[in-house]
Amino acid sequence: MELDGDVIVGIRPDIGWVHRAVEKIAETKKFVQVIPLIERPSIIDSANMNVGYVRAVEKLLGVEVPDRARYIRTILCELNRIASHLYGIGIFGNMIGTSTIFMWSFGDREIIVELMQELTGARLTYSFFLPGGVKGDLPDGFEEKLEKGLRYIENRIPEYNALFIENPVTEDRLKGVGVIDREKAVQIGLTGPNLRASGVEYDARMVGEYGAYKDLGFKPVTRPEGDSFARLMVRFDEIDGSIGLIRKAIREMPQGPIMHERTKGMARQVLMKVPEGEAFSRVECGRGELTFFVVSKGGDKPYRVRMVTPSFRNLIGFETALVGHRLADVPTVYGSLDYFPPEADR
């Protein structure tokens, strides 16, 4: 950072501290073995990354996912989105200085993580989606537990409101800080809640190539201001939206198989040879839009797996948002852009 007294004049991001070369390792592993590998960059959001890769492989294989599997995918992805937003809010609160919000949001996040553990068996890295469907069905009694958990989160949001959002300290520190206006946000290619907080109505779930969002009727939430406060509020609004989507998906869940016939059974998955071709898929993670480009040359290992994560695309947002502000505004903007280093470096 170049500073002029206390005012920031220039910024040069220095990333690469967690660069683990996922793309290079993915060329040495089979298609199914790549799934845990690409989940690890954004471990708090891993179901969405899983869906992205699995969609690309399904396009290469030419299989279509059964309906029930699509709804289960939607439920797990939305639960993960709530957990990821709570993590982001917690880290944001910690950076600003209120460790109460850190404790609250991590405690609430445990409810969601317990629900996901009930469904998949793991706390953070599920590997629940395979090319062709999902691994297992909803367990017995899951709907009641889900409803209890969602109701708890719903009743907690007004408490966050009273303590954190309607707090004059928070409003002073966040309003008007780190403004990215609409044209600039589009030009630099921001993505996710940061983009929607600048007034652009775009969400990769709208395009609807994965999950059951088209059937459930999804509409993104936007705010026009573009400052850190708007980015925080968009995340809270998205939590509300996700709760509504999950409830609707549980009500309208169709019956049927959860895995396509051609890819049923672990033996078929492991020995699967994917025909030659290329596929591009995009999903909406908690932090933005994730794109996958998978190239196969007809073997059992991919030739090239390319993933562009939302934190990597949001990196330019720092330069735009921070220039002209003071040094003490750096934690505010950093937390509101919700930058997750392992995701950016892969």
Binding site: I15, G16, H19, A21, E23, K24, I25, T28, V186, Q187, I188, G189, L195, V200, Y202, M206, V207, F280, R282, E289, T291, F293, V295, Y303, R304, R306, V308, F312, R313, L315, I316, D345
Partner: protein
């Protein structure tokens, strides 16, 4: 993929300007693929639009190739600023030089791996298998049966 454009590497900038005039405004991803047998590095751009409602949700794929021994191409980061860091990353990992987007230090690689271009196909990393296990046994001095 609805629209795929295959172009020569020197026309990249004019094609980018045409796409910007049509209404596309950001680059979603830039992939570099190393084709060792043909001696080429292929670059694939995925470009889309946020603001134009007719083009929203559509992706244009722009493919171009550069020679592997002399990989130099024009940068389009003045037309689409969103691909600046992606170009720097491709320069780190594959060695493609983007004219107009130069930085002295590598972006995601540490200093000691500068100019080693790990994502190329001739940069080998160890794979799993029986062979490696046998080498490990020899290294710690187990006797060969």
């Amino acid at each position: 993929m609805e629209r795929v454009l295959r172009i020569a590497s020197d026309t990249l900038k004019s094609v980018a300007k045409e796409l910007a005039a049509e209404g596309f405004d950001h680059v979603k991803s830039l992939t570099g693929m190393d084709r060792l047998e043909e001696g080429l590095i292929e670059l694939v751009y995925h470009i889309s639009s946020y603001l134009n409602p007719a083009l929203r949700g559509r992706i244009v794929e722009v493919r171009t190739e550069v020679d592997r021994s002399r990989p130099i191409i024009n940068s389009i980061s003045d037309v689409f600023p969103s691909c600046r860091y992606m170009e720097l990353e491709t320069r780190d990992l594959l060695g493609v030089k983007f004219e107009g987007n130069e930085e002295p230090d590598p972006l995601i690689l540490p200093e000691e791996l500068k100019n080693t271009w790990p994502l190329r196909k001739d940069y080998k990393i160890p794979e799993e298998g029986v062979e490696r296990g046998r080498k490990n046994l020899e290294k710690i001095g187990a006797r060969r049966r």
